[in-house]
Subunit: 202 residues, 2 copies
């Protein structure tokens, strides 16, 4: 019922995460109403992305430069590596202002139902960076994936593989505990248990 | 913290309805992960939209043709006009298969807080179509805007203006009642009251 061009754009937009038919329709009619200037700006932004954003071949973040500015920075601790799932996680950690090491973006986590490792995950590249043959020897790797089923599975797998080739490397994880503003009554047992076990104080 | 090109696309995507910073970030990193082919296809679809989709200058739906295929169709009842808010509403009504008249897309509704009529609303165009001077005289106009505050206000306004220039025209609205699969207990009083008042039967 919609015209060919409208359906084509709906189909393209439906490939975006959590965009279904109805949301895609709303996007298309919003663009049609907003006029050629806004659509033109969106087209130029997308072209800019394709033309200028590349993968940093050290940490696998996306950046206008390769290597990216974090990997090239002289001020970072090159013995400390933080492994995250997505590029957005780097943003979150940088905002805390308390991490001065380097990053490695895995580009996702191991999905148990898929059976076999997704070759797009930057696991091989992580093992190359943590290998004892690597001249800038890593002292510690922080596994900072999301504390959910897939994240935990992936961290267990990575820990085993890293230890296998380099038993001396220290492997750590982010602390579990109550979030700021959290409520004791509503905390799940695992979180509250971790918060008790790892309690801080003099 | 994100690169210039990434931030630029985030800003463009945030103009889409109900897309905030986090959703826009997810869209951008999804596109970066999915690769140049998918972004290229999205760019081509957007260009196709700009180049080929126009406003039908009779009903103000969006279409690849002007006038659109509904307005040009010989099989439609030209005495019956259905006024809707958005192009998607035409899609919903056509799917019922029981309407054979023409449409008029208002391109929104009157927002009370804005003060004064949005000139983008196709109200002037609707009054021109319903004018007694128009040679294809309309017999009935169905006001089929959403049954919410803005929709009701807009329908009241339209009814008054249409009657002012053409008192003979019949003006109707969609029936209020229980939706299919609805639950009596959870129906609001206005809906249930309408369902009682307009009960059907022999």
């Amino acid at each position: 019922m919609y015209s060919k061009s409208i359906n084509r754009l709906i189909d393209s937009l439906k490939k975006l995460p959590s965009v279904g038919q109805r949301t895609a329709e709303r996007f298309v009619f919003h663009l049609l109403k907003s006029g050629k200037k806004d659509v033109g700006e969106l087209i130029l932004s997308l072209k800019d992305l394709v033309d200028n954003v590349k993968s940093c071949e050290v940490c696998w973040d996306f950046s206008d430069e390769n290597p990216c500015h974090v990997c090239r920075s002289a001020g970072r601790d090159r013995g400390l590596l933080c492994v995250v799932g997505d590029p957005q996680d780097i943003h979150a950690i940088e905002k805390t202002g308390i991490f001065s090491g380097l990053y490695h973006v895995l580009r996702g986590v191991i999905e148990p139902e898929e059976g076999g490792l997704d070759p797009k995950l930057k696991i091989k590249e992580l093992l190359a960076r943590s290998s004892p043959k690597n001249k800038t020897a890593l002292k510690e790797i922080i596994l900072a994936l999301n504390p959910d089923m897939e994240g935990e599975t992936t961290m267990m797998y990575l820990e085993r593989e890293i230890k296998k080739q380099n038993p001396k490397i220290k492997i750590s994880r982010l602390a579990r505990g109550l979030p700021m503003g959290g409520d004791l009554q509503y905390a799940d047992e695992i979180t509250l248990g971790s918060a008790l076990k790892n309690r801080t104080g003099k």
